[in-house]
Every structure is written in structure tokens, then in C-alpha cells.
Amino acid sequence: MIYLDNAATTMMKPSCVVDAVTAALTTLGNASRGAHEGALNTNRLLYKTREKLAGFFGCPKSEQVIFTNNSTEALNIALTGTLRPGDHAVTTVLEHNSVLRPLYRLQRERVVDLSFVPADRRGCVDYADFERLVRPNTRAVVCTHASNLTGNLLDIRRIGEIAARRGLLFIVDASQTAGAVPIDMVDMGVSMLCFTGHKSMMGPQGTGGLLINGDIEVEPFKVGGTGVQSFLTEQPREYPTRLEAGTLNGHGIAGLSAAVDFIRQTGIDAIRAHETALARRFYEAASAVPGVVTYGDFTTWERCPVVALNIGGADSALVCDALSCDYGIATRAGAHCAPLMHRALHTEAQGAVRFSFGYFNTDADVDAAVRAVREIADRIG
């Protein structure tokens, strides 16, 4: 299989990640549940990994690195933990359902008002809209760092400046960029960063986190066992315990920790250069095929390594199926959990075929994909 669905998850992981998870499976006790070596092994792992992640993302306090199962959980914690009845939030049509559905739920259940920054036919936003949509009761700007459909990057620093100027929380969904694009929360003015471990971080599924920059009161999304303060009837107020109830995914976090080491040793700039070169090689060849339409802003390569396209009027699912069955190429068709982005691109009915490249892909993978696109386009005629 030629795996070009890295925006969904990176299937190939560095060998150090595999080794770390394997070792963890027979060495980790339950963190904060005792003082024996097994439990302490996990406590030490969590402590060190929080430190690593805080450094990696420029989060000032490592105790405000909260482990979650994925971005969706982190976003649910961030949004339900800070938005109150009567609040207003500014978000964008680029968002994934991991942002949209929690916001829609808050709209229904807490009467939180929402405003959406629109996008043009290339999926680009007008940054003035973020400021224009702010109201007196606006509490937060919530947006993705990059569209999972088009790969377009948002200028987080620019939005962060607007949020800071207007005294707003700035909550960022870094699902597509964590590990692929350098992020510094302080420098970019990010209040809360939500990331997943299994995409460009190249860690295991079931890992991720919420990082909190500054003195932000986030109410717990879930409460329960923490191993500490057992006679307290409420969730302890101290971070990270406040937002982490139940046994953590220590085995996965061991893999995530190794993945951060791998990215640091390889160099995020080197990883990004490789992935961007692959996406560019694919885009330049595939977009020249008659009948191929691409989606996104390709006037810049300050973007994620994603190329979404359609071939003529063919249903994206049928093209994706042909890529898989006839060429052994794994891509993602359909709506990509990004309904508003598809609406903005006018691809609701057809969907789109998304090719997304990862660190372990090669030029040969790209060339095979281009040949397949060319042949399928020829079949459609």
C-alpha cells in the first residue's frame, strides 16, 4: 500500500515510538496510585513528557500540559470549560467537526452565540473578519491552525494579536500542524492549544493534549479518580489533576514522548521541508492533468502537505475506491468532517479526494499517485 492519508493519521511510526510503547507495556504501573517502582515509572514518564511538550509548544508551565485522548477531547475540555451562558465565540468555516460539534452543543445547551469567519473559493479567510465579528460579549476566538481539507494555514500569530488586543481567549486546534509546523504559544498569543499525538506528531492513537498558557480557569469536563486527595468530594483544583480524571494512557504517552524526541532529533524544519516537497511535486504534476480541479491556496507553500482534488465530475468516493483497488493508494474521500469548508468550496455533492503526505513517503509514492490520477482522468475522459 502507498499510504497517502497522513492527515487522518500517520500510519508509519518511527521505530523509537514502537520500541517505547513495547517497553512501556511491561514496565508501567498506574501513575499517582502508589509509590512503588511501577507507579513511579509512569509518574516520571508523565512528568518528563509534560516538560518536553511544554518546551516543544512554548507553553510556560509544564503542569498546564493536560493529557487527553486526542484533539477532540482537548477541544471539548477547552470549550466547555471556558464558555459560559451568554458568551459569544468567533470561529471559522474551516473548522473540523471536533470544533464545530462542541460549539453547536454549547449553542444549544448554554445559549453561546457563534459567528463564523467565511472563506473564499480557495478556502482563504480575510483576517479583518476576525476583528469585525467581535462583540461586547465575545469570550473566545476558536480556530484551526490549518484546514484538514485544503491544507491552508491560518496566520495564528496575526489572529493571536487580535485576540490579545480585544482581551479574548484564543483557542487553537493544532490537529493538522502539531509536529509539522513550529508552534510557540507565547510568541503566537495562543491561550489554549489542542493537539493530537497520532498525526504529524507520529505518536500512537489515543494520545493528545491541551496546553494552557496563563492563569485560565478551565472547569473540568470529566471528574473522577486521580489517586490524590481521595477524601475530597470535588475534583482537585490544581493543574494538571483538575482536568485529568481516570487512568491516563501511559503506554501511548510513552510513544508520544519518543515521538517528540524523534521530531526534535530529525528537526521539524527538515520534516516540514520533506513533506512540503512531496506535496508540491504531487500538486504540480496532478494539477496539470486535464480535468483535475484542486482546492486550496497554492500561491504559497506555507501550508500543510495536503492536496485535495476532484477529477471531472466523478464522485470522489469512486475515484478514491479506484485509487485503492486498482493502484493500492490510500487516500480519503468524502466530507472529511469539514462540512462548512466543503460548502465554501462548493464540493458538498461531489466531496473531494484528499492526498496527504507524511515524513515516510517518498518521491516514488508521489509519482505513482500522479500516474494513477492521470490514468483515472483518462478513463473518465
Partner: protein, 86 residues
Amino acid sequence: MVRYYILFENYEQGLRLHDLLDGAGVTNRIAPAPAAARGKLCCGMSLLIEADAIDAARGVIAREGAAHHSIVPMEDQLRPKRDRYC
């Protein structure tokens, strides 16, 4: 050439029917759900059934009470050139 796509609300429904059809010897294949057919309520997978097997598939669904969203006929869009010269 018309083919049939069985659509589902989630992957669990789809994989259950896939097992049932395999068990009954009805040829079927997991395929991405066509974007044009699935609308807002279906999941990303479908079961692709060729025309000569659709009645058998319907029989299994009825007999087992298998949950599914709908069955949608669809022209194969990727082979028109071949059809053109048939």
C-alpha cells in the same frame, strides 16, 4: 453499468452486514460511500454489490433484519470510455 451501494449510519452496521453477506456467500466489497448518494446521514463506508447479487443481498438483509440506511443504484463513472466502444 449500474452497481448498488448499501449505505449505513455507522461502520458497525456496515461491518455487521459485511459479515452476514460473506457468511451467506453473497459477493460484496467494502467501498467508500459515494458522496452524491450518502447525504448528511450516512457514514463513509458502503458495501458495493454488483447487479447480479443485489437480490440475494436484499434477501439477507430481510432475513437477518440487518440495520442499514439505504440501497442506492449508481452508474460506474470511471469506465465510460470502455463502455463507449462496447
